[in-house]
Symmetry: C2
Subunit: 340 residues, 2 copies
DNA sequence: ACTGGCACTCGTTACAGTCGAGTGCCAGGA
DNA sequence: TCCTGGCACTCGACTGTAACGAGTGCCAGT
């Protein structure tokens, strides 16, 4: 375990060089480009140790060294210095996000912004319904036996469901239903609604009972239980940068994984603590993505977290830069949401 | 212009073979696999003519022939026989589309279904607001000086905008505004609303005038003028099927084009007549997509068209099959929409 | 008008040889 | 003990050559 400072410096140099050149880096090139103060031979000895410990490897004999997932991990945990955003980037973020007209717009702008700044694939989760509160529930008559149930959440999300009623319902009843439902549910966190909905059905006047039951069912089944998560994606074209050298020649598995909402949610959602998460290579649980890394974090108004966002790219990515960008964008989005 | 029946048969055979094998097809293989009733030498003569006319070409001397865009065009226009859907496919369509809970759900299911059936990239346009009518406009108070304007269209689309009011507004006024707006606009086609909105502002009671003006502005600017079109995409992983042989080795331009909503809309939207449109290779206007073909059609409840859907893939695609699938899916979606 | 035969083209594959980046190891020096 | 220069070695990348074969164009014959 003899990883003295110099060996760590060598590892850092290897990671930085490899990330920027995309080519295995040799001992000679290393001492030329970095002020390590020692000879190539010494560096070679250090490299041999680093390789033994599993931090770097040789693609083949007589080639330079390349960081392993474990090497990147060490780099991210202990070696990378925070890279402050350039003023230009800060300006880009602000410019990009002002003028959004609704939540959809915010999310779309955010995901494109992230993709553009990091030059990776960007993923943004819509504010999770599970972490949202009900702001208002609206009932809009569509026909005599149909209502549209519109739920507006405090996070700005708006979900609608078509409800097929058991029988025709007079306009006055709709008004009553709307009032009853909002009295009981407005302000409640969505996760806390089931018992409230239960009470709502029980306390409903007998004439409204059937409608209320139907509404309750739709509400619980389609909004609470399988709480629809939504995801926005951008920058898939960035996957083709490294000219197929990243991702060992096939984008197939990556693209497939990106089509699965479940996968994306696992990657960027559920980031319990309010910290930035970095998943490197096979640290993530999906085989399709073992050649990729993910940098993600939560966002939300103030200190609460309502959703996740992040970027995905080759393990050979600029971790410090991407971490800084992801954090900054998340903070800006949070502020934007707090304003609404 | 001597394109007799046999030459056309040869072209058809070339297209069919090339589509299924992905390899340039030679005269010998052709007579083996198809009952052309003539010798390879004869076929070669026909091929020479076809090449002269620009319907096929040789990637290099001593290779077989490959259809040109023009060849595919002729094939699609005159040579392809309609390929009826298999019962399994019909069942898949029905199974896939039942149980959709809202428009989002319908669109997502549709796009995934299309991608799965055709094994191409699928694109579905949400029902265009420009072709929708207002079913209901709802005003939901968010704070004393903020309203959420929710528009529900007859196509099922629901759009919301946050409106910053000039001053605090009492609940009664909101009720009045809601009533006035709906009286005037409900049922109107979105494209016909501008004059109505104008009248609405003019006729509004003096006390409501400022609010109404603000609402009108938001309504016109964000919903009517730049009528938000939305697009769903699926199956990008299918681009990697031909193993990078299609798209001359780089998915880059394709992926870039797919990220541009404007491009996608031009491709699948605005299909004026209710027919299926096929764009082959450089027939479409985007350089990025000159290696791709698009099969698209309009859909909508009954005879009206509210949006477009289609698939995109390599010029070397199964046109008859994709055309049949796109048509069938569009019809099913139309029926589904008609039910609501 | 079709067909068999034949010379020709040219991409593909295999193989051998050279080059050079990069390594591991070792002996010597601070 | 640690670092360094030197040196032999490995092995992928590149190059040139040769054999192969799919496919063609053309022509003379039926």
């Amino acid at each position: 375990m003899g990883l003295d400072d110099r060996k760590l410096a060598v590892l850092r140099a290897i990671v930085e060089d490899y990330v920027s050149t995309q080519e295995p880096v040799g001992s000679k090139a290393l001492v030329e480009r970095h002020q390590l103060g020692v000879s190539p031979a010494t560096v070679r000895n250090d490299m041999a140790v680093l390789e033994e410990e599993g931090y770097i490897r040789q693609p083949h004999t007589s080639a330079g060294r390349v960081p392993t997932d474990r090497g990147y991990r060490l780099f991210v945990d202990r070696l990378s210095r925070v890279k402050p955003l350039s003023p230009a980037e800060r300006r880009a973020i602000e410019r990009f996000l002002v003028g959004a007209v609704d939540l959809d717009d915010v999310v779309h702008r955010t995901v494109r912004l992230l993709a553009q700044l990091t030059r990776q694939v960007a993923v943004v989760q819509y504010p999770s319904l599970a972490r949202s509160s009900v702001r208002h529930l609206e009932l809009v008559p569509i026909s005599t036996t149909r209502l549209m149930l519109v739920m507006i959440a405090d996070t700005g999300r708006v979900e609608q469901r078509l409800v097929e009623l058991p029988g025709p319902v007079p306009a006055d009843d709709v008004t009553d239903l709307r009032r009853l439902i909002n009295e009981k549910l407005a302000g409640a966190r969505l996760s806390e609604t089931p018992p409230l909905v239960q009470v709502l059905v029980e306390e409903a006047p007998v004439t409204l009972r059937p409608m209320m039951t139907t509404l309750a069912t739709v509400l619980l089944e389609t909004l609470v239980e399988r709480h629809e998560e939504r995801i926005a994606l951008a920058g898939t074209a960035n996957l083709t940068r490294g000219g197929l050298l990243d991702f060992q020649g096939s984008l197939r598995p990556i693209l497939e994984a990106l089509e699965e909402e479940v996968v994306l949610l696992k990657l960027i959602g559920e980031t319990e603590p309010s910290t930035t998460r970095v998943l490197i290579g096979d640290e993530n649980e999906f085989d399709n993505l073992r050649a990729a890394s993910v940098v993600s974090t939560g966002y939300g108004p103030g200190a609460t977290i309502v959703g996740g966002l992040g970027v995905l790219g080759p393990t050979r990515m600029d971790y410090p830069g991407n971490i800084a960008t992801v954090r900054a964008v998340a903070r800006y989005v949070g502020e934007l949401l707090a304003q609404n």
